[in-house]
């Protein structure tokens, strides 16, 4: 009798788990095009705007600070630091948002198509985690110490973000109709493009 009860409880639990898993699962088509578009937009914003060398250089330009310190009174110096802090915080938050969008794409979609190896997936996951952590650290540094407090973190963040964008670009390029056509024509043995 006891074993029957245990068996029934186990069976019911498994059934519940199955129902839960099915309720969480979305159809492959639903949301995939949305995630793809989000990722494309995020990648474009990161590569063309946020990580553009000219913009990053200007945001953290030391010559602006030198000019302000040398030729303006304290009130303007304070205003400058406040203003630049505000803009650099907007910048790092936008970078973080873009990176999160790319991570969501890799988590949900890329591996289904690009057939990533476990090792590659793990490396990507670590890179995304490191980058998001760096963005958060930079945000804290900018907030408390100002825009000129952590030039090394800025450089590293931009470097890692650039590399991840390049990887994402390959993944997204792989998902264009032409590339998918190549895949179906016999690239079955091909390893992940990432």
């Amino acid at each position: 009798m006891t074993s029957l009860i245990i068996f029934l409880v186990l069976g019911a639990s498994l059934l519940l788990l199955l129902v839960f898993a099915l309720s969480r699962r979305r159809s492959p088509a639903a949301g995939s095009s949305e995630a793809f578009l989000d990722a494309r937009q995020a990648l474009s914003a990161l590569q063309n705007d946020l990580l553009a060398a000219d913009l990053v250089r200007r945001l953290f330009a030391k010559d602006d600070l030198d000019y302000i310190l040398q030729f303006t009174p304290e009130s303007v110096q304070k205003l400058f630091i406040q203003e630049r802090r505000k803009v650099t915080l907007v910048w790092v938050r936008q970078v973080r948002k873009g990176v999160m969008s790319l991570r969501a794409f890799h988590r949900g979609q890329a591996r289904h198509y690009a057939r990533l190896r476990l090792e590659t997936e793990f490396k990507l996951a670590v890179s995304f985690a490191v980058l998001l952590l760096a963005c958060r650290a930079l945000e804290i540094a900018l907030y408390f110490k100002g825009p000129y407090a952590a030039p090394q973190i800025v450089g590293r963040t931009v470097g890692v973000a650039g590399r991840l964008c390049a990887i994402s670009e390959k993944s997204l390029g792989f998902l264009t109709p032409g590339s998918l056509g190549d895949l179906t024509r016999g690239a079955a043995g091909e390893q992940a493009k990432v």
């Binding site: 945001l59 302000i68 030729f71 303007v76 205003l79």
Partner: protein, 160 residues
């Protein structure tokens, strides 16, 4: 093919605009304000009779948008010192009293409507922020306590 032709026409119109009109406006800040003034606030479309006659309304509009974006990028890449210099030159070219000009620009922030439509928010914010600081720098100079750096020689205004 039509697309390529359209692109080439836009490029030709933009070159024409640069050669005939924009080359006569020396400071990028002046060029930005001039190009923004050619844009209809309600529709976001640019109008320039001469350019539209030589090309077409659509091509002229696209060419002006391209010129506007290019000038904005140029200004975003400029140092704060350079922007202060340009703003100072622009103030002088308007023949308005400096104090009045600074008060109006600080209060109304008219430069906000001078950025191209498709500008990314960070670049736009950097431009606004730099102009706020530049206005503060000019304000301190107005009170006579702080002089301009020695290298900052005033540029002639487009009116001159």
């Amino acid at each position: 093919m039509e697309y390529v032709t359209g692109k080439m026409a836009v490029r030709a119109a933009a070159d024409d605009m640069r050669a005939r009109t924009l080359s006569g406006i020396r400071r990028p800040l002046d060029r930005l304000i001039y190009l923004a003034s050619l844009r209809d606030y309600n529709t976001g479309l640019y109008y320039h009779d001469g350019l539209a006659t030589r090309f077409s309304l659509d091509v002229a509009c696209e060419a002006l948008a391209e010129c506007h974006s290019q000038v904005f990028r140029e200004l975003c890449a400029a140092s704060l010192e350079e922007l202060v210099r340009q703003l100072e030159g622009y103030v002088d070219s308007t023949h308005a009293a400096r104090g009045d000009f600074i008060a109006a620009w600080q209060g109304l922030e008219p430069y906000r409507v001078a950025v191209p439509v498709e500008t990314d928010p960070v670049s736009a914010e950097l431009f606004f922020s730099n102009l706020r600081v530049a206005l503060a720098v000019l304000q301190t100079r107005l009170h006579g306590h702080w002089a301009a750096p020695p290298s900052a020689s005033p540029q002639p205004s487009p009116a001159q």
